[in-house]
């Protein structure tokens, strides 16, 4: 398909307006169906037995007693999910994570599963499964795991990315490096150098909907999977590969998704549900409990980061360096690598070097969490930037403006930037009334910047025009926060019709070509590109049909404002034909009218944000309260500004939770202590103020409407913005996230004792 994705600077009539979302009524009436809201005839209940040990060899599993329990229809272990990954290491890890094969690698690791006629029997059956474990020493802390004396999680791991292959295995799977220039020279030129070490604890995406699916495998190798996921096509690929099914015979339907934030980007229990269904010969519904969600899905990396930044008296940064250690759970990942890429991306740096180390620990497999790895790196860098500005005696915003990256700057991760928004967000913050709002005693103001990549990727859209002129839009990216509304706006814009004429749905995997998942802020960016392309293809057909109706050459027909117009004075008597007019005659002009698009939406922009926040600290208890919060972010073009604001606010709230109270707490036994919403403390309504937003629009040159992804960047600055605010409020520099009251009080006491 010849599709020109370049930004055209067109004037919009639909894009940028704020209509009601098409799935709104279903969602306010309880009708919308999420992962656990679907049932099939004859369905069984699936449950998973999980390891109580952080690290243990599975010597044997005896399932015979469970199998004999009345009402149990299938019991499976790793034997029922044989390794079909054929050397694909990433898929092998996903398989092993779904069902432990030789070793249980973390508290909560799946070791067996049952399908029974009801939940009570399934629970009883789990108790009858006897697993003989040989408990091994474990390690859950990222720094301890990186130490050469640490218990080895996988003795086949030899650190990649070193000049020479190391002689001994290690928990460090990979070293990565980015940067340019000469940092030694840069630090030698500096008048001020700041050097700090930081730690961040592991957090969970905290989606309110636990993982849930209904799997049905038929003896002929066809199968259906209903599941909450960020990418049903990706889940199809994973499940087909792991179960030995043919991808096109496995239909995956994405339910409404109750939050994902990166945690629903690869399979967890779905292969288990399919394997249970295959063995039982009946559909199986498998819903994780909240405890399982925390113990066995999701979390982000825990990190340990060293930062060194030098600057001249005039505020020019001369060198920046960071070493980043990120936990991956028990399987290899590239989390520190992303941290190393994003750490200094906001700045124009002559000399910069970042080194990342991926570290295995006995914790759940790390998954992406909204701009994965970037918030921790930004916390370390933006805290240090504030300290450096203070040393130099410069205003924190001015110091950043002086060093901000701009078009033409070589990014710290390599390439040269096109038009970007970091400078404009900083200028907007400088002028923002928030910066002048009065502060009381024990209150402080902080600000920080954040960067995140946007993804593009494989994308399909079908646009079908009904005989009555209404339009259905079938997209393949899961709607996580209102994208059906924004994509309808884009189709309306391109076709020149009213938003109300359209209805968008998310199609299942058998109804549309392959789509990458909704991740990397790509949903609206990619699917809008495919929607524009599909609409343009439909317009080609509409023009052709109008030409037939008028009996004139198609070259003389143009499409304007939802109408075919015959161009040329000789057609003066032909009144324009609306989409509806043409659709009504479609049966006799060549049949159904549709526009399809299958493309790779490459050329995604990069995204920047700057946040401001005011914090009040109770110096006697270390308690914090967020008083005011403002997000300024570049959207490229806000297709549906209300939902763009929603992304900004939601990301900020998640960042606030991460900064202040959220953390995985492990006991000495390697078991997770707080696997529930009671003690894994995500912000509640009364914890937060209104979150003010300002949308900037610096068009992405590689999208017809200038759209950039907006979903993720807003979680990047809050950790540092809050740390900077706490520092400005009570004079202590917090280097350990979350800044929970005990940590703040301890820091204050240490400061008071001198």
């Amino acid at each position: 398909m010849n599709f020109d994705p370049r930004f055209t600077g067109r004037k919009f009539s639909s894009v940028g307006t704020r209509p009601l979302r098409p799935d709104g009524i279903d969602k306010v009436t309880g009708r919308a169906r999420y992962g656990a809201d679907f049932n099939m005839a004859g369905q069984l209940v699936g449950r998973i037995l999980r390891s109580p040990h952080a690290h243990a060899v599975i010597k044997s599993i005896d399932t015979s007693k469970a199998e004999k329990l009345a009402g149990v229809k299938a019991v499976i272990t790793a034997k029922d999910l044989p390794d079909l990954t054929d050397g694909d290491a990433a898929m092998y890890d996903i398989l092993d994570n779904s069902m432990a094969r030789k070793k249980a690698l973390y508290d909560g690791h799946a070791v067996a599963a049952v399908a029974a006629i009801d939940a009570r029997i399934a629970r009883q059956a789990l108790k009858l499964i006897e697993v003989d474990y040989e408990v091994l020493p474990h390690v859950t802390d990222v720094d301890e795991a990186a130490h050469h004396h640490a218990p080895l999680i996988n003795d086949q791991v030899f650190t990649e990315g070193l000049e020479e292959k190391p002689a001994k295995p290690s928990n460090i799977t990979k070293r990565t490096q980015f940067g340019h220039g000469d940092v030694h020279k840069g630090f030698a030129e500096a008048d001020f150098v700041i050097e700090r070490s930081f730690k961040t604890e592991q957090t969970h995406q905290g989606y309110i909907e636990p993982h849930a699916c209904v799997a049905s495998v038929n003896p002929d190798g066809t199968a259906d999977l209903w599941v909450c996921t960020q990418g049903h096509f990706v889940y199809r690929q994973h499940c087909a590969q792991l179960l030995g099914l043919e991808a096109s015979k496995l239909r995956v339907t994405s339910s409404e998704i109750g939050g994902g934030f990166g945690g629903k980007t690869h399979v967890w229990a779905e292969p288990v549900a399919l394997a249970l269904s295959r063995k039982a010969g009946r559909p199986v519904k498998l819903v994780m409990t909240r405890d399982e969600v925390f113990r066995a899905s999701g979390p982000t990396s825990a990190t340990s980061i060293d930062v060194r930044i030098g600057a001249k008296k005039d505020g020019t940064i001369t060198a920046a360096e960071a070493t980043l250690r990120y936990s991956c759970g028990p399987y290899a990942g590239s989390w520190a690598e992303i941290g190393a890429m994003t750490a200094f991306a906001c700045y124009k740096l002559e000399n910069v070097k970042t080194v990342g180390f991926e570290v295995l620990v006995n914790r759940p497999k790390t998954a992406a969490y909204r701009a994965p790895s970037a918030p921790m790196a930004a916390f370390a860098v933006e805290s240090s930037i504030d300290e450096l500005a203070r040393e130099i005696g410069m205003d924190a915003v001015d110091f950043r403006i002086k060093n901000a990256a701009q078009e033409g700057t070589r990014a710290s991760y390599g390439p040269v930037y096109g038009p970007i928004g970091i400078g404009p967000t900083l200028e907007a913050v400088k002028k923002h009334p928030h910066m002048k709002a009065p502060l009381k005693a024990n209150q402080g103001r902080g600000m920080a910047c954040g960067f995140w990549f946007n993804f593009g990727g494989q994308t399909c859209v079908d646009l079908n025009i009904g005989m009555d002129g209404s339009v259905s839009l079938a997209v393949g990216t899961v709607d996580v926060g209102g994208s059906r509304a924004s994509l309808s706006l884009v189709a309306a814009e391109e076709l020149g019709i009213d938003y109300s004429q359209l209805k968008a749905i998310v199609a299942d995997t058998s109804s549309l070509g392959y789509n990458d998942m909704t991740d990397g802020s790509r949903g609206t960016f990619s699917s809008s590109m495919a929607t524009i392309s599909a609409a343009r293809n439909a317009i080609l057909i509409l023009r052709d049909r109008a030409a037939q109706m008028w009996d004139i050459p198609v070259e003389d027909v143009v499409w304007e404002k939802g109408h075919a117009i015959a161009k040329g004075e000789k057609y003066g008597n032909l009144s324009p034909l609306s989409l509806k007019d043409i659709a009504a005659k479609s049966g006799t002009t060549g049949g159904p009218i549709a526009g399809h698009s299958e493309l790779v939406a490459d050329g995604a922009g990069v995204s920047f944000a700057t946040h401001i926040c005011d914090i009040e600290v109770d110096p006697e208890t270390g308690a914090t309260r967020v008083i005011r919060y403002t997000v300024v972010q570049d959207a490229g073009k806000a297709v549906h500004p209300t939902y763009v604001e929603g992304q900004y606010q939601g990301g900020a709230a998640q960042g606030i939770g991460w900064a202040l109270n959220e953390e995985y707490i492990y006991g000495k036994d390697g078991r997770l202590q707080n696997a529930g919403f009671l003690d894994y403390r995500i912000p509640v309504c009364s914890d937060l103020p209104m979150i003010d937003t300002q949308i900037l629009e610096i068009p992405n040159p590689n999208h017809p409407y200038g759209v950039r992804g907006v979903g993720e960047t807003s979680i990047v600055p809050p950790l540092a913005a809050i740390a900077n605010a706490v520092s400005n409020a009570v004079g202590v520099r917090m280097t350990h996230i979350p800044m929970s009251p005990p940590r703040i009080l301890a820091a204050l006491d240490a400061e008071r004792e001198g």
């Binding site: 629970r123 405890d291 006697e620 208890t621 270390g622 308690a623 309260r625 202040l660 109270n661 707490i665 202590q673 707080n674 919403f677 009671l678 003690d679 403390r681 912000p683 509640v684 309504c685 009364s686 914890d687 929970s740 009251p741 005990p742 009080l745 301890a746 006491d749």
Partner: protein
């Protein structure tokens, strides 16, 4: 498993006394159902006490108040008379869980769940509240602090049910208060907490005082020395400092997922000071 809803306390006691396997009393269920969900308890008998006459009532007697064991904390919070007499007890009760949990949870359940971090218990202990226990051998009235004996353990014998909590009638110049520390603004279990109950003499000096701390030891702590230090004072700075020191010193806390030993010690003192100031003001002190 059986679920029963007896209509009299005698029937409830009888069923519990003759139960063979584990039995559970259900009032609000906000602890029981969580423990059942987590597989920590699998009762063979669930005795729902909400249909028993009088257990869902708050009655004002000549001696004070009788709060039935099945009175949800939300209902307690709506009772103006109790709120006026014992604002600290009521605010403590109303801190348990969310609005949703408030519609179900009871102070009796909070007491019998025997968590050292229970919100209403330090306030009840400070208030000198009593529990009316019905059992196979009749009824007895005991101080609330004698109910919990350790985390999750109580002094109640098999077949015994607390049917009501008693609060004394208030003299003039009396006030109580309860404060807890939580990391968020709602929905958390107390990291540490303090309840203070005071009466003043005509001159505004403290006549009697009781101070109780929560989440500071295996059971709620009644810190008698802290009460004594307040008596005779008008809550001057030096007294408050001594109060904090005594409370911090009385703590025997643990390090856990909710807080550290140091944090609990320190904040116990801070909360005792702040609660004392509120109670003093409520009692009419200046």
């Amino acid at each position: 498993m059986r679920y029963i809803r007896p209509l009299s306390i005698e029937d409830a006691v009888g069923e519990l006394a003759k139960a063979v396997g584990p039995a559970a009393i259900l009032a609000g269920g906000s602890d029981l159902l969580v423990r059942m969900k987590g597989g920590f308890i699998e009762p063979e008998l669930i005795v729902d006490i909400k249909a028993i006459g009088g257990l869902a009532d708050i009655t004002e007697t000549a001696d004070g108040f009788r709060i039935g064991a099945a009175v949800p904390c939300a209902v307690l919070g709506e009772n103006k008379a109790v709120r006026k007499a014992w604002p600290g007890v009521v605010e403590a009760a109303n801190l348990i869980g969310s609005k949703q949990v408030q519609g179900r949870c009871t102070i009796t359940g909070n007491l019998c769940n025997a968590s050292p971090a229970a919100d209403s218990v330090p306030a009840l202990v400070a208030a000198g509240a009593k529990a009316v226990v019905a059992g196979p051998s009749g009824k007895r009235t005991i101080a609330v602090e004698s109910v919990p004996t350790g985390p999750g353990r109580t002094s109640l014998a098999k077949g015994e049910i607390i049917e009501a909590i008693l609060l004394d009638k208030r003299p003039v110049h009396a006030g109580d208060a309860y404060l807890r520390f939580i990391p968020r603004t709602e929905m958390d279990i107390a990291v540490v907490s303090a309840g203070v109950n005071l009466t003043l003499d005509d001159k505004g000096a403290i006549k009697t005082a009781r101070v109780a701390l929560g989440a500071a030891a295996p059971t709620v702590l009644l810190v008698e020395e802290a009460g004594q230090v307040l008596v005779g004072s008008k809550l001057d700075e030096a007294t408050l400092e001594r109060l904090a020191k005594i409370c911090s010193g009385a703590c025997r806390p643990i390090d856990d997922k909710r807080g550290t030993i140091e944090f609990r010690r320190k904040v116990a003192g801070v909360l005792a000071q702040r609660a004392a100031a509120i109670a003093y003001k409520r009692a009419g002190g200046k």
